[in-house]
């Protein structure tokens, strides 16, 4: 009797274990089967393409406008909005695991990050050479988005920089628009000092953790933290050294209002605290958001470094669309090629509806680009920016922009506290070489 009780108990326990194990197994096979079912469906017939992008009002909206312009009834695309950080994490974990399950067909990647993906995961992306003509795009946009002789991205928005300034403050300091066109950063600092003396407003708002302005200065002279072959280029980088000197001079003379995040940055010019915003073209909608300042803003070309070959055009940010090497790649590439890659009318809608300026050169002759913006004293803001865009010196952002910049950010703190510029550059060079062999 007791023996049987024991046996029953054992059997019961074993059965429970078996069932739960089986359940776990069958669950996972179900899931695999599901995703396997999805994959072929994507490649056949009704082509359901997925795209990942950040910023609902900008990049996601741009993809949706493109979808409206795309004349193909068989094509259907789902745009999934993800934060940029999430996209970077998911791509990295997904691609490094070696399975392409759950990856999108089209993904937006920031230009400064692109090489790190292209070189880390060489077979994960699909070359787009056959789907559009890269020569139609701003030259500076091509080197970050190509690798090993192939064009891997369809270049999207530009971060061409402009020197947005408050006409009333600058007038009070004794400057007209002509005085601010095609100046150097040294002259910019002189202007900033006059503005500070006459209006008591700092010239710019900067986040000490974000060295964007250094990159803007450097790129105007065609230089970067690394050279084209990936060598760390800090110690003997004359443009960078000059940019750092300018940066320190601005800090030391109270020409800068410090901010610690994006919303404070926006508040600093929307509230009228600072006199200018030297930044990427994408900042224009944020400036316009403060309606009470309509007519008080104007736009000059970004200052240049006082170095041979430097131009009054630079870039800050910008991203491009990539196609992953999975089923549906041809459809996705064709979609990008026929919209972002060649449709002038589509670019007019982009400007009209979301204020996005692409890097497709023929688009600038379109009608929407000629718009005279009352907010900026009837200046043809979009047209001017798109003209400067063509002059932006191309630089190779390489793979380590963010890594090197963290090293330099730390050294810049030392520099502001009195460490000599030569030591700052030499130490950054050594650290970067150790870290990114």
């Amino acid at each position: 009797m007791k023996e049987i009780g024991m046996k029953k108990f054992w059997t019961l326990l074993a059965t429970i274990l078996m069932v739960s194990l089986l359940a776990a197994c069958s669950n996972s096979t179900d899931e695999e089967a599901d995703s396997d079912d999805d994959a072929p469906a994507e490649s056949s017939g009704d082509a359901e393409i997925t795209a990942w992008a950040w910023d609902a009002n900008f990049n996601v909206a741009a993809l949706e406008i493109a979808l409206e312009h795309y004349d193909n009834d068989d094509f259907d695309m789902e745009v999934i909005e993800n934060a940029q950080d999430d996209i970077v994490q998911r791509l990295n974990t997904g691609l490094s695991s070696g399975t392409m399950n759950g990856m999108p067909n089209i993904v937006l990647i920031e230009d400064q990050r692109a090489q790190s993906f292209l070189q880390s995961y060489p077979d994960a992306f699909y070359p787009l050479d056959d789907y559009f003509n890269p020569d139609d795009f701003a030259p500076y946009k091509l080197s970050p988005t190509s690798f090993d002789g192939h064009q891997y991205a369809l270049p999207f928005d530009t971060g061409v920089t402009g020197f947005f300034y408050r006409t009333d403050y600058l007038e009070e300091a004794g400057y007209t628009h002509e005085d601010l066109v095609d100046i150097t950063w040294a002259e910019f600092i002189d202007v900033a000092k006059d503005v500070k003396d006459n209006t008591d407003h700092p010239m710019v708002s900067l986040d000490p953790n974000d060295l964007g302005i250094l990159r803007v200065m450097m790129q105007s002279a065609g230089a970067w933290y690394t050279t084209e072959d990936g060598t760390i280029n800090i110690e003997d980088n004359e443009p960078l050294a000059l940019a750092l000197e300018h940066f320190k001079e601005m800090m030391d003379n109270d020409l800068v209002k410090l901010n610690s995040d994006w919303s404070q940055f926006l508040a600093d010019f929307n509230s009228g605290a600072v006199a200018s915003v030297p930044s990427g073209s994408w900042i224009a909608p944020s400036i316009e958001a403060e309606e009470s300042q309509a007519g008080l803003w104007q736009l000059a070309p970004i200052p240049r470094l006082d170095i041979d070959g430097a131009v009054n055009a630079s870039n800050l940010g910008g991203s491009s669309f990539y196609v992953l090497n999975i089923d549906g790649k041809e459809e996705a590439a064709q979609f990008l090629g026929e919209t972002f890659g060649s449709d002038v009318e589509f670019y007019q809608d982009l400007v009209r509806e979301i204020g996005a300026i692409g890097t497709y050169i023929p688009a600038s002759e379109g009608e929407a680009y000629q718009f005279e913006n009352e907010y900026f004293n009837n200046q043809q803001v979009i047209y001017d920016l798109s003209q400067w865009m063509e002059d932006v010196p191309p630089v190779d952002y390489g793979m380590n922009t963010y890594g090197i910049e963290d090293i330099i950010t730390a050294e810049v703190q030392n520099y502001l506290n009195g460490k000599s510029l030569d030591d700052v550059l030499a130490d950054s060079q050594t650290q970067a070489e150790n870290q990114f062999k």
């Binding site: 009780g5 739960s20 993906f117 880390s120 963010y402 703190q413 150790n434």
Partner: protein, 318 residues
Amino acid sequence: MHLSPEAFIQIWRGIVMSEHVETVKQTSFLKKIRKSYIGWLFILLSMIGISLFYFYPMIQAFLLSLQSGMGASLEYVGLDNYVRLFNDPTFIAALTNTVLYLLVQVPAMIILALVFSVLLNDPTLKFRGFFRTAIFLPAVTSLVAYAVIFKYLFSGDGLVNEFLLSMNLISQPLNWLSDPTLAKITIIIAITWRWTGYNMIFYLSALQNVDKSMYEAAKIDGASAIQQFFFITIPLLKPIILFTSIVSTIGTLQLFDEVMNITSGGPGNATLSISMYIYNLSFEYTPDFGYAATVSYVVLLLVVVLSFIQFRVAGDRD
């Protein structure tokens, strides 16, 4: 599973009887195993789970820490990554920051939590429940949400500066987030606010178990409140203090959310924590998961060593 009470009793008797029978026989090793079979079965599921989701990834992470390379193209480099640690100023900065947080924040928080718990344990205190809840409440807030709020409190024109300015304690706003020292202080204030109440609850519950007669006896012997605190409360709470300091140490070593959201490691890398450096190595820079795994093994090593020291120092033999 549903067993009727009768069946359950029968099974129970079966176990007891079979044990009885076996003890009568000579017990061999095999029999011993067989005897404890049932116990093993009970823990089998969780053992499989732990092996699968803890030990297997740990071994994989160790193997990963011996590799280096970009993204998916990793190759074995032996102990190169571990050597690299010593020449990596960013890692050393992250380690120094983390150790600093540890040395300043954990003791400060433990002491604060102890003081609060003793104050709130006083039966004559009015609104005890309210105070307890108020101090514990930070522990239920989301890490990210509170970090973002702290960022705004301590920003240039944030509430903290406004308050200090209006009290005439400072003449111009302090750069809480962009000054290297103040940024560290901000992080420490934030973590302390978030976790003090959590630790206090442990002490409060332990204090419930302290026999009141001890305090009465001490009072009769003429011990002051402070003497009672040091000679009765602290010794009796020792195991709990040990527990909370280990948990807090481990928590601080894994500090991520606050640094990420309040300062993102800056200015420079003045507030960078080890966990945030691991994140940067994996997702912010060109991914080197091998080296990131190496850095994470340093955290593991630190946790083990520090916990060991704490056990030793606390010296509980039971």
